[in-house]
Amino acid sequence: MIPENFIQSNLQGISFIGPELILTLAILLILLVGVLLPYWRHRILFTILAVAGLAGSVLPLWKLPQPAPDLTYLSNLFVWDWLTFLSKPFFAVVGVLTILLTQVTGEIDNSEYSECTILVLAVTMGMMLLVASTDLLMIYLAFETMGILSYLLVGIRARDERSGEAALKYVLYGAFTSGTMLFGFSLLFGLAGSTDLLAISQKVAFASQHPQDRLLLIVAILFFLAGLLFKTASFPFHFWCPDVYEGAPTPITAFLSVGPKAAGFVLFIRLFYPLFATGHDATIYEAVSGLDWPSILALVSAITMTLGNLAAIHQNNLKRLLAYSSIAHAGYLLMGIVSLSDLGLRSVVFYLVVYLFMNVGAFAVVAMVASAGGSEEIDSYRGLGARAPYVCVAMAIFLFSLIGLPPFAGFVGKVYLFAAVIYKKIYWLAVVAALNTVISLYYYLRIVKAMFLEKPTETIQIQVPLSSRVLLLALLVPTLGLGIYWQPLARVVSGMF
């Protein structure tokens, strides 16, 4: 199945993976420098190299032709549509923020720093490949590039037991779920005789008419869900999330909570919409008849958000709390997938962008407080508002944005997601999500309460360096700005689908 827009020449096609190639070069350069120079002196050097690599990786994007929904390249492995085009800068920003966060917090030892930057860059490259893939094999390859390297990232603090435990848990869960997903892929390949999504989608529409094949498709969908729900940390594959988030170095936690999660949601869009939904020209899609996956996902979404929020209430470790909150947010994001409409897809992308800033912001504050002499426990936030007002006000803004209160960007994101399900008239899910917002308010406010309403129990001074403040400011500006005027971003996401 070769679409008309297929770019025949592979040499020409290579220019489309320019970002990935530049990232590869940056990785090799850092590796070389890390080996040849006495690395403990050059932390800032690695940071500069990595950030330059990430920034450079998005530059070739604007030299390339206008994206189109069916413009494929490199033997049909990748597609050059707006989702690909805009995901790459997104992941580059995720990478840059992570690198800067590791730089300013110093949570990762100098001896492991060059490896850390290399791995962040490599995971970013994996995510960039993943969002562009339209071939089951390529998808799996990119998925595992992203996955295996992120297991390494979690365990980067080799001598820290919690880090090791987290990495092991992540590996075991990850191996199991991605294997299951691969089995699902093989079922589809068996049905269609091709790994190309476009070719498969035509067989799927056909096969779903026949009860026996429909069973196979249902099994395949369930197996896909194992991999995807694992990456997005959704019920019932969320158990790894709190432990991994707690054990990993905080900047890496921030990275995992936005990077692979976003990649997982993009993969949802890539896999489920072409394969198991019809009506690509209309603004509303229908699930392929007989395969009622939106209902399953709606249920998963409701359970995920409720479970995440309820479990977060009793957490005293901020990283665990934010981990459960991230589970809850996966539930919210699934609403956009469930709604099976362009509005739903837009809402997912919009929310991911917003979530990037506010969630990395929250984790950034956790990392900064921990590295400035506090800890990750909520106790060390008691009365912090008076001692470190700037950081605490920033934290409060990120948390309010995570709750979804105006005038912060999280509110707009939530409005998008709510709008998506209400547009499809799934009112019960909207009401469940609305009530979940109220539950989430309680535990986010516990932090705010500790910071501003309570008296300090300890008197250590929290000194936050200027570089951290600047980074926080860079995260605050979009969190506030997109809450007040989000028309530019709305236009971008409207153009995507």
Binding site: F400, P407, A419, Y423, Y427, F452, Q487, A490
Partner: protein
């Protein structure tokens, strides 16, 4: 001399002040207070001008400003006022000004307090002026943030509990409103452009509602969602439990704002959103709403009678008084009751503000609010006793003071539609009289408690905050037309719309 875009200036001027306060060095708290005061004076002046210039005979919206804000969702920056908004805006501007003065003795975290207060001021005015559902919602929610901190940081001993309870309760209502808002957005199509719309004036036109928004179940559920949202704010009785806690723990000025303005937002929201958007459901829910109003009147009064904490007593009396507003608003057979209800909104705003300010005065001196521990205060603080007497009599509905007229209008009007409910509601007035007089007796009369014999008399600053309110209470008691004039035409239009 008024600026263009008067409403925008009025709404956002306090915010400018808040921004300025953030840059004042920490060692000049008085400068911060001065800036805060200066930021509330021009809005008060503009509100007064608005009051004078407002065209009393027009039923449409005046001072309209409409600019596209987010084209992707067809959201407009849409402001405008009608007869219901003007008294509320005036009340907000006045109480904000007074509360800044009343907060002069705040000495902890001065910068935060006044910046948040001004943010609160902005959001409150925004709620009363917004004509776009989305904007309304943004301002409505924006109000929660400063309120949470103002109660939580500067409040009393159980401030944390009170603050989170207030936040959680109100948010439940808000998110339901958000869902309903989006249902309306997708359920209506603006005829001129073919787009969905958040414009309240367009949504009020029943012909733009799509088929699924015409279904009775959807409409019923939508009305219920909105009603719960607003009823939590008013608050009507099953949703009221946040109020006593919040009022008791909040600092004086914030109690004043809570009781004086925030509660009115609930009833204002019903008038501005529920009635125009779902008039048929308004009729269907009228009896239910009136019954809840009645329960609030009686239950609030009985609870107030049992209190020993002065602030809690006033909090429960607020529930009782807001019950009258709800009762009056549920009457559609005549316009008397609903006029009374809106007048009651204004009057309760002034009277209850006085009451909370007065409690603040005594609390600042004695640091307790226990009714039984005082006694014979009239001898110690005669001027204070005079002010309190005026406020108490106004609150219990003594003829010649403002609340009497509004409550009488409500009862006269509602008697035509709900005989039994109205008759039962009158016992509420008796109960109100009972607990206020009893409190008066326990605090001011009887043998003088020696412990409090040397409490200083009310200060000039405190008197300055009370006097304008007292004047309004007396003036409107004799001559309510300044407000009734303003609201009459709009309310007639509202009732006509609901009756259909």
């Amino acid at each position: 001399m008024l600026p263009d875009h008067l409403l925008s200036w009025m709404i956002f001027f306090p915010l400018l002040g808040a921004g300025l306060i953030l840059f004042v060095p920490k060692r000049y708290p008085t400068v911060m207070k001065g800036i805060a005061l200066a930021a509330t004076i021009p809005p008060l002046w503009w509100a007064a001008n608005l009051y004078v210039q407002f065209d009393r005979w027009g039923t449409g919206f005046q001072y309209v400003e409409k600019v596209p804000w987010i084209r992707a969702f067809n959201i407009h920056y849409y402001l405008g006022i009608d007869g219901i908004s003007v008294p509320m805006v005036l009340l907000t501007a006045l109480l904000s000004f007074i509360c800044i003065i009343a907060s002069w003795n705040i000495n902890e975290h001065v910068r935060g307090y006044f910046a948040l207060f001004l943010l609160l001021d902005t959001s409150m005015k925004g709620v009363f002026c917004a004509l776009d559902f989305f904007m309304f919602y943004v301002f409505w929610e924006l109000m929660l943030l400063p309120m949470y901190f103002l109660i939580g940081i500067w409040g009393g001993p159980r401030k944390e509990y009170a603050a989170i309870k207030f936040f959680l309760f109100t948010l439940v209502g808000s998110v339901l409103m958000l869902v309903v808002m989006l249902v309306f957005y997708f359920g209506s199509v603006e005829p001129a452009t073919g787009l969905h719309s958040f414009d309240l004036t367009i949504l009020a036109d029943q012909s733009v509602h799509q088929a699924f928004l015409r279904s009775h179940t959807i409409r019923w559920l939508c009305y219920l969602g909105l009603f719960i949202g607003f009823a939590i704010k008013i608050p009507l009785v099953p949703f009221h439990t946040w109020l006593p806690d919040a009022h008791v723990e909040a600092p004086t000025a914030i109690s004043v704002i809570l009781a004086g303005i925030l509660l009115k937002m609930g009833t204002y929201g019903i008038l501005r959103i529920s009635y125009p958007l779902l008039p048929d459901m308004a009729r269907e829910f009228a009896l239910f709403a009136a019954t809840l109003g009645l329960i609030s009147i009686i239950y609030g009064a009985l609870c107030a009678m049992a209190q020993t904490d002065l602030k809690k007593l006033i909090a429960y009396s607020s529930i009782s008084h807001m019950g009258f507003v709800m009762l009056g608003m549920s009457v559609f057979s005549n316009t008397t009751a609903i006029n009374g209800a809106v007048l009651q909104m204004f009057n309760h705003g002034t009277v209850t503000a006085m009451l909370f300010l007065l409690v603040g005065v005594i609390y600042d001196r004695a640091h307790i609010r226990d009714i039984d521990s005082f006694g014979g205060l009239a001898k110690t603080m005669p001027v204070y006793a005079g002010y309190t007497g005026l406020a108490f009599f106004a609150a219990l509905g003594l003829p010649g003071l403002s609340s009497f007229i509004s409550e009488a209008l409500v009862l006269v009007g509602s008697f035509q539609q709900y005989k039994i409910i109205t008759i039962t509601a009158t016992t509420g007035i008796i109960l109100t009289a009972a607990y206020f007089l009893w409190t008066m007796q326990r605090v001011f009369l009887g043998p003088q408690n020696k412990k409090w014999a040397d409490l200083p008399e009310i200060s000039l600053r405190e008197a300055f905050t009370l006097t304008p309110l007292a004047l309004i209470v007396v003036l409107l008691g004799f001559y309510p037309m300044p407000v009734l004039d303003l609201i009459g035409a709009t309310l007639k239009h509202t009732v006509a719309m609901v009756v259909g």
